[in-house]
Symmetry: C2
Amino acid sequence: MTRPVCTRFHAAIELIGARWTGAILRAVFTEAHRYHEIKAAVPGVSDTMLAQRLRAMEADGLLTRQVDTGTPVRVEYHLTEMGRDLAPVIDAVLAWSHKWIPVPAGGDPH
Amino acid sequence: MTRPVCTRFHAAIELIGARWTGAILRAVFTEAHRYHEIKAAVPGVSDTMLAQRLRAMEADGLLTRQVDTGTPVRVEYHLTEMGRDLAPVIDAVLAWSHKWIPVPAGGDPH
């Protein structure tokens, strides 16, 4: 009899793979912390979607939102320990993508 | 200036993280090869959705569909080299999920 796939694995891969989430994680890993920096690192994401994803990732425990109430107010997003622990996942996906996903036509091959 | 997230990474994480794809990959990695075995390993997936995902994963190059034209016809799904190369990603997600995703209430803790 086939054993069901672990529900925790299933929840994890869909959490990480949700639209934009992987790219946002990668951006924050690579030192984009302010909203405009994250937006610049994730081409194509709308403000509505980015704000929604950041709220969801905060609720899921991957990011913290830190507000420094100076003038102007400065908001930064940082990885939690749970988020930082995704480093081996991100690294494995990067390695796989550089082997198997074609460089986009006319695109930056990095 | 913030560097954009690698488009190949972005494509890869959303390919793997698409609804049901991760669970189907894990099922095929753990020796579910026939349609009914994969369906049994992925609780909650409908026939329509499973058939659609299997076709998409074949088109994306992750799976091959092998038809043995006996009686009855026997269809099996196997990982391609591209699919098998996801083993480190699957392992990293499994390890992370077992640290960070709670065991579902009343669920099998495996």
